[in-house]
Subunit: 432 residues, 2 copies
């Protein structure tokens, strides 16, 4: 049975109409950073239907007067970090205040049309900005299906999974400077590559640019250097989730990655969706992940509960410049991931590595069991051997200049959706 | 012939005595961040002999009145980043002001004993702090001797270097949160390891903790996402250098690193020396690096000058808790590195990856051609097969709890040294 708190009750309704297919019903309340108009300063908001609720306005009016938030000015900041750093209790408190205002239980917004005009900004008028100052970005490799697909392509079916894969969440440090907000176009990278039949490598535009469908989470309150985190406390250090497109250059990766792992193949851009869905909003959508019994995981990674993941439908669509609309190429689900977010976080901190508020940990490509659920072009086109066909007759093995990749995802409730909106990015030609 | 500008002239002397073996003569002027006493706020300073020159005091008095610095308050900040972001011209201007004050050419400090008391803080009284807010930390693998030694141990002499190694500076993204200032003790990490003869991995204290002797440089002014850097402009984006100890857990690394590279084996701590020596101070010590003619490097990595590295003697000493003094275990040199800093930076940005002021790029272990010049215990003890003997009868294959690792380095001028001071760290037992 799903667990509902006062803010996730399916019966709850905003005092204004929100369509059933909206990603932002009153049960969601995801946090983000927006500009009310292109030239104005970024501020913190919450998505609600077709509007953004301006939290700075509410804070200035003293609406956040609970024990955790009343002496804070975290909603007057440009970044979410200071709010995130206050931890779960402050987040729960903020959600309750916002929920009450939007439901009309607290009538101060419902009954004040002037305040509504100031605090509810039409989403179509805002520009979204990167919501979090990201200290370190780490990328995992937590989908068994994805690791198996890649391993099968490069090493054959019998050696698909490396010996360590089922024992620990494999991951690597990524590049935080090039994490960008949805909507930011990226240039096709230049790089050093070597064809199998070439005598020497050459430098030029990558020919195998790919997307990777991933989910990321942000750390909320970390651990001191030298201290570890336990599975029991891990989820209390997670603020919420966002969609991640970990753009990849497969030909650069192939030549550079032995023995120290992917480097330039991954650092030319990582797109994230603008709205961060909190763990509180996802609570009703908990489900069990894959069984971790063969082999049993080591004690430090043992889940404290069975339903350690979430049922989140994920989709990827591509729209080329000559296409009239985007065409869905992948339907996957967050619940397919073998390793949970809690396990990723605990493993990351196991050496005493200090996790900091604002760190981004991404899942790695989320592929499902069927061919239409693979989360990258590499897998969907099976290394280019099965080009994808599009309705207008075009085909793709990898991405072409001008292609826009659109990711979306949501949890389906009874009559409502708790969603991320979208994570979009257009691939531009190599820059001069 | 060495190139000397007005601040590196060997004939220049401070108006007070500085011993010939000091690392901080008037030619050096390295930048750092210090607390005048444990409880006071961190501030920016320059090391000079046995003193730290307090730049905030000088800035407040309006001494930095040149075109680049007169409208700035960069020396009133807690971090060096804003100063670094002003670029080379501002750095050169600051060095000239400081040099003139310390030589007495500008007599305002020399003739004012009250100001000397305020601006010259005895180094023995200060606490050094992390000088730079590090955005991203990247670690390279640029010593041919080190890569060959490691490759020989794990794959045999004939396949020691991977096919890509001579074509590009192999590197990987590291963890910036755990970069600490010299003097910070670190705990032995816990981690997942698997012995060759064990059926399954286990979780416990790493048994093979190692140091890595490295040099790091800080980026000063970066490139926009999607833009690249050329070899001709690369050095203008480098602020200066610091010693780096990239602590490593070899047993964790061995089990985790396939296929995505080192992760937890490297993220429990990276120590840096507190003083950053600018490229201007190192200019007289330029030398040619190893020939890069077999194979020729690709055009985008072609050096614009022959003497693209520096003659910097590097030493590592270890002092166990039962030892009366530290014992030198390695003498190496920065000039042994195959890939230069300019090449590392240009390669890193080749995809359009945006480099930011404050990013730290480290060289990888700097090993030389002889057995006493190897920059890690892994190589010095040849994977534990040749334990190091210490004067008190103790031996080491890898580091033991309580061992302090002390790195130092300097350029030797005629009668003076331009040095880094030291980069020290003690290995504590696993934390509770």
């Amino acid at each position: 049975m799903p667990t509902y708190d006062a803010t996730t009750d399916p019966a709850l309704k905003a005092f204004f109409d929100i369509p059933a297919e909206s990603h932002f019903p009153i049960q969601n309340l995801p946090f983000g950073v927006f500009r009310p108009a292109a030239r104005r300063e970024p501020r913190i908001g919450v998505a609600i239907g077709e509007y953004v609720l301006d939290l700075k306005v509410l804070q200035t009016l003293g609406f956040f007067d609970g024990p955790k938030l009343r002496n804070q000015d975290v909603f007057e900041e440009r970044w979410l970090n200071d709010f995130m750093d206050l931890g779960k209790a402050a987040r729960v408190e903020a959600r309750q205040v916002i929920s009450d205002l939007l439901s009309g239980k607290d009538a101060r917004l419902k009954d004040d049309t002037d305040l509504q005009k100031r605090a509810l900004v039409p989403m179509k008028d805002v520009v979204m900005e990167l919501p979090v100052q990201i200290g370190d970005y780490t990328d995992f490799y937590s989908s068994r299906e994805h690791a198996t697909n890649v391993g099968t392509m490069f090493r054959g079916k019998d050696n698909a999974l490396q010996p360590n894969w089922l024992h620990l969440p494999v991951g690597y440090h990524g590049r935080s400077s090039s994490v960008v907000i949805s909507g930011t176009p990226l240039h096709r990278p230049m790089g050093q590559t070597k064809a199998d039949d070439a005598a020497a490598p050459s430098f030029g535009p990558s020919r195998l640019v790919d997307f990777e469908l991933e989910m990321g989470f942000f750390v909320s309150g970390g651990n001191a250097l030298g201290k570890r985190l336990s599975m029991a406390e891990a989820e209390d250090h997670i603020f919420g989730l966002a969609l991640v497109n970990d753009w990849s250059a497969r030909d650069i990766q192939k030549w550079e990655y032995v023995p120290l792992g992917p480097f330039l193949a991954k650092n030319f851009g990582t797109s994230i969706s603008p709205w961060i869905i909190t763990l509180e909003a996802l609570e009703p959508f908990r489900v069990a992940g894959p069984a971790q019994t063969d082999p049993e995981v080591l004690d430090y990674l043992k889940p404290v509960r069975k339903d350690q993941t979430y049922d989140l439908r994920l989709e990827v669509a591509i729209q080329g410049e000559k296409m009239d609309e985007a065409h869905t190429v992948c339907v996957s689900n967050f619940k397919y991931l073998y390793w949970s977010m809690a396990q990723q976080l605990v493993h990351h901190a196991a050496t005493g590595c200090n996790m900091r508020t604002g760190d981004l940990l991404a899942s790695g490509t989320i592929s499902g069991p069927t061919e239409d659920s693979y989360g990258s072009m590499l897998e969907l086109s099976w290394r280019g051997s099965k080009p994808l066909a599009f309705p207008n007759g075009e085909t793709r093995k990898f991405l072409q200049d001008g292609d826009t990749v659109i990711m979306t995802g949501w949890a389906q409730g009874n009559g409502y959706r708790v969603g991320f909106g979208s994570c979009e990015g257009k691939l531009l030609p190599v820059s001069e």
